[in-house]
Amino acid sequence: MSDLVIPVALPLAAAAVSTMLGRFPAARRVIGVGTLLATTAAAVDLLLTVSDGSVVVGHIGGWPWPLGITLVADPLAAIMVVVSSLMLLVVLVYAIGSPKTSDETGFFHPVYLILAAGVSLSFLTGDLFNLFVAFEVTLTASYVLITFGGDRLQVRHGVTYIVISLVASALFLTAIGLVYASTGTVNMADLSDKLGEVTPALRSGLGLLFLVVFGIKAAIFPLFFWLPDSYPVAPSPVTAIFAGLLTKIGVYAIIRSHTLLFSHGQPSRLLLVVAALTMLIGVLGAVAQDDVKRILSFHIVSQIGYMVFGLALFTLAGLAAAVFYIVHHIIVKTTLFLVAGLMEERAGTGALRRLSGLMHTAPVLAVLFLLPALSLAGVPPFSGFVAKLALIQAGFDAGAHVTVGVSLLVSLLTLFSMTKIWAGAFWGDPMESDTIEPRRLPPLMVGATACLVVASLAFVVAAAPLYELGEVAARGLVDPSVYVTAVRGG
């Protein structure tokens, strides 16, 4: 029970304390890192408890089910909380080292902790309205972070992000209202039964509305246009954590709603088409870009397609592959954005036509970029290869040949745009600014990035047990009866 509450309540309390300690930056850093360490520990403990496929349930405030606020940790939620806490911790260390966010009087630390609480709550909640609140907590913190510098570009693109998120929130609220009107409950375990009783037309209408709402958050085709515009303008650590976690909350919500609430039991043609188009359009966008962060932002969209593909199959293997893919993607994508931040820090720009020769002047940076970049493209023996192999095998087993073909083509184009960054930024003659007066990179930033690169390599070594864990999570998704019984009886 306490493991369920800590990842949500502790960062919120710490954010309050951190706000009051505005004049003591060192204390703020200790509180931030300490809180996220405690959160990670609680999350790991939680994962160990549920790694056999069981479900931990907590009813907050003692209200009887299904009236009160329910927190639920099934294997999928626990995996997500562990990975997200780890990423939040590493990126906070990176942010402390980064000149852009180490602003000593600013509100970076408290807002970041609130973001952490919102992310954990989104994964752990067992109630639709509470999911809405968790989204809002996360988003409100992200509004502040994305416009953190307050300059003209950030305000312009921050407005796009805020307005599109608010439209999605309004739609979410509408969907919740309609669900309540048709079933009389907003508890997800309860809805799992009661949505089966409403008419099929109403049920698919509601399912579609939720897909649109979560699709905007997850940036699936055709609702992704806001992402490549708004993400690149934020400070690097912020972009990294957004890229790693925020869209994945949307993907998690799609998976949760489509297995628990609107279960199909067979491959969904709509989702397969959406997945293929998301992959393809995302990667084509990336190929056309020139700025490192924009290229990587389009790749987020493309990669979301792979995750939706795994879900769309609605088989055990497909869902297990999707879970594995999400974890791989969170680690690798966060790393790549951290490296992009380092490149900007070093060269003062992220535009490929201005970057050149970083391999000679900053060889460490080149290694830090190359490993996750190859992993993202799915080159063996990196984690991306394992994830894509599992996904493609699942796709063949389910007979989704077209989408499998598209995903292979997209892998090739991903590799192409990664080589484009490599050729543009790392090869060639060193830049003038870099040879005359080389800028030193803060060791804390490099250390944090290196930690994540090592983590992604360790992920390959431990691929077999981790994939089994993914299968345990997928089993709980294919057959939600364990989830529903646990929530009801708890």
Binding site: L67, F129, F132, V133, E136, L139, T140, Y143, V144, T147, G150, D151, R152, L153, V155, R156, G158, V159, I162, V163, L166, V167, S169, A170, L173, T174, I176, G177, L178, Y180, A181, V186, D229, D290, D291, R294, A351, R353
Partner: protein, 126 residues
């Protein structure tokens, strides 16, 4: 009564969408607020018929459904906070650009210029 509310909800959503599609940031913000009002009314309607106030110690069978009221209350608070932040951003935007109009996307403009006249180097990024 519910029919009146349903019409009101429709009108609110319609007006909100119209306002969001404008280019003035303040109108967009008002549009978002109007849609949020529509959604809150929708939550109330979702609770069914009106009844007596749900206060402990009174006749429970005559209660209005208290849950949608709690949901709407939470949603109102959230909308209030976010709208306040958005207004602050709009003010910041006005300070920076002296205009309330949402500018074109700079990257889009650059690509459009690139398409009109395809030189080797493309437009300058700013």
């Amino acid at each position: 009564m519910i029919a009146v509310l349903v019409v009101a909800i429709g009108v609110l959503y319609g007006c909100g969408v119209y306002l969001i599609l404008q280019r003035n940031l303040t109108r967009i913000i008002i549009g978002l607020a109007v849609i949020a009002h529509g959604a809150n009314l929708l939550l109330l309607v979702a609770g069914g018929r009106a009844g007596s106030p749900p206060i402990a110690g009174t006749d429970a069978t005559a209660f209005a459904d208290p849950l949608p009221q709690a949901l709407a209350l939470t949603a109102i608070v959230i909308t209030f906070g976010v709208t306040a932040y958005l207004l602050a951003i709009a003010y910041r935007s006005w300070l920076l650009t002296s205009s309330d109009i949402v500018e074109d996307d700079i990257e889009d403009r650059r690509i459009a210029a690139h398409l009109d006249s395809p030189p080797a180097h493309g437009g300058e990024h700013r």
